[in-house]
Structure formats: C-alpha cells, structure tokens
C-alpha cells in the first residue's frame, strides 16, 4: 500500500467511525499527531482510545484530498476535513457546531503500515475568538487562572462564583475521559456551609428533610433541604469530617445565609459559616491512581460516600469518595485556598501519566446516571416528593425538620407531579430554560434537563410531569427549535459502570 493509499483508507475508516480499522493501519508503535491533540498518541492502545474519542464524537464527516504526493515511504497530502460535533446541542440558530479545516498531512510508512501520521492544521478558527467576558459582581475561584490556561471557554454563575463549564475538548472526548480515564474539575463554587459546635449534628437534622441522624464521623450523605412550605432548596452532599463539624457541600443556593438566619436569636449552640474551602473533583476510574500519588490517606480503602481528614500535596484537606459524575471519583476540600494553584498543579502532574483532562461537570454522563442539581430559584416550585430524591424523605419521623408539616400535608393531599426520564425521538438543542411538555390529553410538565446520551446514542431528558403521565407514554416537547416527541421512561438511563 502506498502512503497516500494508506491515508485514503484511514480517511474512509474515519468517515465510518471505525477506530479499529483506523488503528489497524498503524504499526504497533505508530504515532498520530494532530493540532487539537493534547499530546501525540503513540502505540496501539493509545491510538485505539484516542481515535475513538475523537472520531465517535463527530458525525457527517467528509474528507477531500487536494494534492497527494508519494515519495518513497512518505506521502505529503493537502486536503480538507469537514465534520459536525455531537452532543453540544448545536448553535442558537439550530445549526450544528462544525469542525471544518484544511490540513497538511504527512504519512510515513514502515513495512506497509503507517509509522507516523501528522495532521497539521490551524485549530484557531474552530474556537471562539475570545473566552467569555466576566463581570466583577461575581467571584473568581482560586483556580481561575489555571482553568483559563486549560482552555475554559464558557462559565456559569454558581454561588456567586464563576463556574467553568466548557473547555476545548468535544463533549465525547470529555465523556470518554470521565468513563475511561481521569478528569479534574474546578468546583470551588461548591461552597461549604459549615455547622460547628455542640448542636451542629442536631441542627443538621433540623435543616434536612432526610434523616441524617445515623451519620458517623467520616460519613458523607446525600441531603435534601426544603423550606417551610416543603419546596426544595438544594441537595447538598453532607460531610461529617469531625465529631462537632458538618459541611453541607451545597449547590447554587445561599444555604449559609439560610442557616445563619434560622440560628439567629435561637438556643441552637452552633456556629454557621462559609470557610475558605475550594473543592476540586477528580473523577473517573483512574482517579485513584492519580490522587493516591499525592494523598497521605489510603484512598483505595475508602468506601463510597465516606470522607477523611488528610493531606493532599502537603496541604491539609478533607478527601471524600463523592462527586457529580455518577461514577467513581473523589473530591478534595483544601482547608485554605492560599496555595490553590499548587494543589491544582500537583494533581495535574500526578495525573499526567493517565492523560488527566481538565473538564467541566460532564452533564452527559450525569443525566445518563440520573444525577441532577437544583437551586431554590429554578426548581419549578418542586417539593421533595416530586424530585428524584423524594424517596429519601420520611415525614413520619418524630424528628422535627423544616418543611415536615408542609410535606405531610402535600403527601396526604396526594402528590401531584413526579420526575421521569425522556427518550427523545430526534435531536434537541441545548436547554437554556425549561421546555413545556404535554401528552395530548391535557397533562403537562416541564423538561428540566436535556442532553445527548453517548451510551444510548440518542438525546435524553428529565422532566417533572403530572402524575397521570406514566412510563411508556409518548409526549410532545416544545423547545426553541420546534417540537420533538419523546417516550417517558425511568431514571437512571444507564447503570453505574455500564
């Protein structure tokens, strides 16, 4: 096979999304270089994963060769590549996010196989000219500069902090890094509401509409907070690192202000504060190999939803076996953000051998696993029974908690809505606000989450709907690009570790 013929075969396999056929064209020690790779892929295993991560995250791919010149075992090729990125939801006008560029490729052959393939192109036009601009009304995280250097492009606002959501990789590359490798997330905006003092533990039970009384020191637990009307406020991961100290690692709600307001003027002997703790998430199957290189605690022995006080990269920290990935991973809570960038660098260096990838929260996987998030101001006035976490609520307990009486009344009157999954029959855009839904019989609901499932190969969603809408029903969802039918299903969509 001539070098240019090998390249044509490589392009054909790429268009077909066949990473095995692509890899088979390489020698066992073959090297693939490309402008958008973090580093060259060398050797069969690296090629198999790298080519799959890239190629299967795109569709409608076309390649055209303008000039191909073979000189002995080497080919020099000029051509054009066109493709569309899967999983972004497309642009606001409904058009796809495209990956179109011209390239020079150099193909070096050995024994009839590709020993080196270098694709040289300008990646600059593939990305926005500038990162999103910011305003001083919100806080930067202490990892800000590191996230910028890692290619952060889009931020949300979360607990009055900038939350880096989207970096430079395609959704499929981030998804694969999470499921097969290791990812590092800046989640410093996951603020800790610290309850400290003799009454801290009892006060926690009063705040939460889930029974927290059996939490031992070193435990973590998924918590639910509601207001006095039973409306959900947030669903923090609660940590008990010390006997008299609780951290509610909470979502986008002012839990600290809420808790301080409740304590004020009462007999609760508890101090409520927001310590300078800026968490990081290290998620993915290789998180253990990464973090144990810099952590003093025996992480391999940690059970899911436990935490330990330890040191990470020489810094005092709590480490927990938790995360928002719906899979394996850890969170690191340093006691101070003074040396935040040192901590970031140390974890990145530890994960270098595992190709650690800096990402935002990988919503594609979270929704597949039924992991959601909420805050008080966008929760559709949901009560705890309407949420996926409603199963944890026990209103028949003797323990008093905020919202208990209201939730009892709601239950006794009959719960009106429930959370369900949706399997869309077509592509839907990126969701920016809730979409309405109806079943054609007057029963309605709201789609709160919508995303592409790489595992299922279709778009999926989570909605809060009338109780009359049941599993298996067909509903119609109205979104900015039109309407799309969906089948109602259960959540989670996929099993853990599938």
């Amino acid at each position: 096979m001539t070098p240019s013929a090998a390249f044509e075969a490589y392009c054909a396999a790429w268009v077909a999304g066949d990473h095995i056929a692509m890899t088979d064209l390489f020698t066992d020690d073959g090297v693939f270089e490309a402008s958008t790779l973090d580093r060259p892929a060398k050797g069969r295993e690296a090629l198999l994963s790298q080519l799959r991560w890239i190629a299967q995250g795109q569709k409608n791919i076309r390649t055209e060769t303008r000039t191909a010149i073979d000189v002995g075992d080497t080919a020099y090729i000029e051509g054009t590549y066109r493709g569309e990125i899967i999983g972004t939801g497309g642009k606001i006008d409904g058009s796809p996010h495209r990956v179109d560029f011209r390239f020079v490729a150099v193909v070096e052959m050995r024994d009839g196989k590709i020993a080196r393939l270098a694709e040289i192109y300008d990646a600059r036009p593939l990305f926005p000219e500038e990162r999103q601009r910011m305003f001083t009304i919100n806080r930067r995280t202490p990892y800000w500069q590191k996230t910028v250097e890692a290619g952060a492009m889009e931020w949300s606002v979360y607990n009055n902090m900038h939350f880096p959501m989207i970096y430079s990789h395609t959704p499929h590359e981030d998804y694969c890094a999470l499921l097969e490798g290791v990812t590092l997330w800046d989640v410093a905006l996951e603020r800790q509401t610290q309850l400290k003092g003799p009454d801290a533990f009892a006060f926690l039970d009063y705040l939460c509409c889930r029974d927290m009384s059996t939490m031992a020191v070193g435990d973590c637990r998924y918590g639910l907070l509601s207001d006095e009307e039973g409306k959900l406020m947030c669903d923090p991961v609660v940590l008990r690192p010390w006997e008299d100290t609780i951290w509610l690692s909470h979502g986008n709600t002012d839990v600290t202000l809420w808790a301080r307001g409740i304590v004020m003027g009462t007999d609760w002997d508890v101090d409520v504060s927001e310590p300078d703790v800026a968490p990081l998430q290290i998620q993915g199957p290789l998180a253990l190999g990464t973090l144990e290189k810099v952590c003093d605690h025996p992480l391999a022995e940690m059970k899911n939803y436990t935490c330990a006080v330890t040191k990470v990269a020489g810094q005092d920290a709590v480490v927990s076996r938790t995360g928002w990935s719906g899979g394996f991973g850890f969170e690191v809570y340093p006691f101070s953000s003074d040396r935040a960038e040192e901590l970031w660098d140390a974890i990145l260096e530890a994960g270098h051998e595992f190709r650690i990838q800096v990402t935002g929260p990988i919503v594609h996987r979270a929704i597949e696993r039924g992991v959601t998030d909420m805050n008080y101001y966008m929760n559709s006035d949901m009560n705890a029974f309407e949420d996926l976490g409603g199963k944890f609520v026990n209103v028949d307990t003797n323990v008093d908690f905020i919202g208990r009486e209201a939730l009892r009344k709601i239950r006794d009157a009959g719960i009106k809505r429930h959370s369900v999954g949706l399997l869309f029959e077509g592509d839907v855009p990126r969701i920016e606000w809730f979409w309405s839904l109806d079943d054609g019989n007057g029963h309605t609901g709201e789609v709160r989450w919508a995303i592409h499932s790489f595992e299922l190969g279709q778009d999926i969603g989570i909605a809060v709907v009338d109780m009359a809408i049941a599993i298996g029903d067909i509903v119609e969802v109205t979104h900015p690009n039109g309407t799309t039918r969906a089948e109602v299903t259960t959540v989670p969509f996929v099993k853990r570790g599938a």
Partner: protein, 132 residues
C-alpha cells in the same frame, strides 16, 4: 529564455526569504494575484504582490527572529509540500515553536499560492494576554 523554477525550489526560496525576514524577496516570487495564507497574520490571507509584501513586512516588524526549517519538499509539476518547524522570537511576547506544513503552488515561473499550515491557537489563548 529562463527555465521555470521547480515548485520545490520556489518553496525553498520562499523559506529562505522568511528566514532573512525579507518581505520583498518573498513577494517578488509571487504572481500578481498570488495568495499567501499564514495563520498568525491578521488578516491571514494576503492577495497580490503588494498586499503580500505589506502584510509580511508588518508581521516581521513584530519579530526579532524567524527560523523556518523544513524537510526536502515533495512535488508534482505545480505543487510542492513539506513539513518542518517555525521558531519565532517576538518583540513583546513569548517565543514560539510550531510544527508546520507548507504548500507552494506555482504556475510557470510564478508562485500563485503559499500556504503555511500551523496551529495558531496558542496566539489566542483564553487568557488575559494580548490577542493579536
């Protein structure tokens, strides 16, 4: 009567002109409607001898040095392609070292297209640095 230079010779002459930061020499090889494509420039497509000369000259003013090294080009009757490295030292920004591909297309004795392929994204990082 002159013998038309080969595409490879034209490509290498152009590389030589870049290394000498000689915009006039590079432009002199170009056809009246020739196209130069250089990702780091703004605009990055220069059309015609005058525009090419002015555009490259302006770029060279920002540079202390240019070191463009390439492998022996492969060629057809009208196109030469090679790969190499481009190292630039800037007056007021960090040095750069790029993997490059170069395509030179000739018509008769004239260069009609010079396309420099490199990843210029690091010139537009999502940082607070100056963005050219």
């Amino acid at each position: 009567m002159t013998t038309p230079r080969s595409p490879s010779a034209t490509l290498l002459s152009c590389v030589d002109a870049f290394n000498k930061r000689d915009a006039s020499a590079a432009a002199a090889m170009a056809d009246d409607r020739a196209l130069f494509e250089i990702p780091m420039l703004k605009p990055n497509r220069l059309r015609g001898r005058d525009e090419i000369s002015r555009g490259i000259e302006a770029a060279f003013k920002e540079l202390k040095s240019v070191e463009l090294t390439v492998a022996k080009p492969a060629e057809t009757d009208s196109v030469a392609i090679t790969e190499g490295r481009l190292k630039v030292t800037r007056n007021s920004a960090p040095d750069e070292d790029h993997q490059v591909g170069i395509v030179a297309e000739v018509h008769g004795d004239q260069l009609v297209r010079f396309s420099l392929y490199l990843n210029a994204r690091n010139r537009r990082l999502w940082s607070d640095e100056t963005i050219l």
